[in-house]
């Protein structure tokens, strides 16, 4: 089993990354944002358009086309021999990378464009956005009780507080740290600094979560291009090699979650570390899914960066800052850089590639050679962890 999985280790690289304009972009459609990000990723890669023979995308709440993979290809004028729309929530981008790697390694295609995003800020009203996101909740056994997405994560946060003594201040530290990073990113949605007091005093949404514990609703598209390690050698862009990747899925709805404190991230992480032959202590920078401030706290623990229950103090003590022991979400995450459907987690992959390439100025993690990205979807339901490296390990 392990040997089989190793068949994709170091076989592919990400050679192009792109972000659309981010924030409130009323002049662009959701598909337009995807196309802009894709165009920028292609320009970044140095590949010819004709080399893209695979396209993967996820889903869109604001433009809910049937067969979104085919729709994106049609919009982009691409006739691929490999396409699909994959819906595993926020973990879709990492899972798409895994599928692309498998397809390339198996020889089904050579170069795959992966893109996602939607116009969540201006393509719908805020009420519509909140109501549409209820699709995550169980229609028959959860929805009758009026839960919101923040309410699901709030119950996870509350349990973490009860069992491990995690505090609201520690969660607020996640939001503040992440915002500090976003201020160093030229394309981040949020441009103003926030303090611990700002977060603690922000509007309550679902106790203990306040509005500044919650991710953004942005107009944003993201894209990256995956090709064989062989092809990557001759390109002008610096490749980021896929050293390890693993996924694990335990449930969709919170009522069916096996635990509120132990999730599939530990398993997806183990698979990724094992494939890469690396350990948590080898990771220089991590981009963790942060739809709510409690989530990166849990992921730090699940992925072995600290002990169970110590994720909150990890942030509070500054270890997640740029310059800290393990800088986390150096682009500003979904809390402050952008969140627009599956693009949210995709930007973590974009940022990991950029960190490995280097030259990001104040945002640069010094000597970053190995980056970890974790995407999760649903209510900590679907997990995918990946490890990218500057050089083949």
């Amino acid at each position: 089993m392990a040997q089989k999985m190793n068949s994709i280790r170091n076989k592919v690289a990400i050679v192009g990354v792109g972000e659309s304009d981010i924030g409130k972009v009323p002049t662009m459609s959701g598909l337009g944002l995807n196309a802009q990000a894709a165009r920028r990723a292609l320009d970044d890669s140095g590949l010819e358009l004709s080399e893209i023979d695979g396209v993967l995308t996820a889903y869109s709440f604001t433009e809910p086309y049937f067969m979104l993979g085919s729709v994106i290809c049609e919009y982009l004028g691409i006739k691929p021999r490999y396409t699909a729309s994959m819906v595993v929530g926020g973990s879709s981008p990492a899972v798409m990378l895994k599928h692309a790697a498998e397809a390339i390694a198996a020889g089904h295609c050579n170069t795959v464009l992966i893109c996602a995003g939607e116009n969540r800020a201006t393509g719908q009203s805020r009420d519509q956005a909140v109501a549409a996101l209820m699709a995550v909740g169980h229609p028959y056994f959860e929805k009758p009780y009026g839960p919101s997405i923040p309410a699901f994560y709030a119950m996870i946060a509350r349990r973490h507080m009860e069992l491990f003594g995690t505090t609201e201040e520690q969660m607020a530290c996640v939001s503040v740290t992440t915002r500090q990073h976003a201020l160093l990113h030229p394309n981040a949605h949020m441009k103003k600094p926030i303090t611990l007091e700002d977060v603690m005093g922000s509007k309550p949404i679902a106790d203990p979560l306040k509005i500044l514990d919650c991710c953004l609703l942005s107009d944003a598209g993201g894209a990256f291009i995956v090709t064989s390690a062989e092809r990557a050698k001759d390109l002008r862009s610096k490749p980021a090699y896929l050293a390890g990747i693993g996924e694990y899925h335990t449930h969709e709805h919170l009522i069916c979650a096996p635990s509120l404190t132990e999730f599939g991230a530990s398993e997806s992480g183990k698979i990724a570390y094992q494939m890469a032959g690396l350990a948590p202590s080898d990771i220089d920078v991590a981009q963790l899914y942060d739809c709510f401030s409690i989530v990166p706290i849990i992921e730090l623990e699940e992925l072995g960066f600290c002990k169970k229950g110590e994720g909150g103090s990890f942030y509070q003590e500054g270890h997640a800052r740029i310059g800290g022991r393990l800088p986390v979400n150096t682009h500003g995450g979904m809390l402050s850089h952008a969140h627009a459907g599956a693009a949210g987690g995709l930007f973590g992959i974009v940022e990991a590639v950029r960190q490995l390439r280097g030259g990001l100025g104040a945002r640069q993690v010094e000597g970053a050679e190995i980056a970890l990205v974790h995407n999760e979807g649903g209510v900590l339901s679907s997990h995918c962890t990946l490890i990218l490296t500057k050089d083949k390990q």
Partner: protein, 141 residues
């Protein structure tokens, strides 16, 4: 109680569950083969895939596994109830389910509270299981 709130959607998996709720009985599934209880009703046992399942009337007693107080409702129908409590209840039989905690002391809900099922009317013909606190955790009551 409130005709505006969502009315349960019944399908072939859940017909017995909701019919029983209308008669103020909380039913859960038990596998005859492996004896596992599960909450969300389905065609087969999620533990062993046996299709020999039966409906068991739950005691209706459980414990608050976690909860939140919703301050901003996701749907307009719930606006007038804000702030309201949503909890994951661990039934004495084992499985977890979601419900609101009702009653005058609902906002004092804590993890570990012992709760008991009650039934709330939704529209003229339907009822949904809900819970009230009957033994508060840590002497808050």
């Amino acid at each position: 109680m409130d005709s505006e709130l969502p009315i349960p959607v019944v399908n072939p998996d859940s017909q017995v569950y909701w019919d029983s709720a209308n008669q103020e009985r909380l039913m859960i599934r038990q596998c005859k083969a492996c004896k596992e209880f599960h909450f969300m009703p389905r065609y087969l046992c999620p533990a062993c895939w046996s299709t020999e399942l039966e409906w068991i009337q739950a005691t209706g007693l459980g414990e608050v596994h976690s909860f939140t107080i919703v301050r901003r409702a996701p749907m307009k129908e719930f606006d007038h109830l804000v702030p309201y409590v949503i909890a994951l209840i661990e039934l004495n039989e084992g499985p977890r389910m979601m419900a609101n905690i009702l009653g005058p002391d609902a906002l004092e809900t804590r993890i570990g509270d012992q709760v008991k099922v009650c039934f709330e009317a939704r529209g003229p013909e339907a009822k949904v299981p809900q819970f009230v606190r009957h033994l508060a955790n840590k002497g808050t009551n």
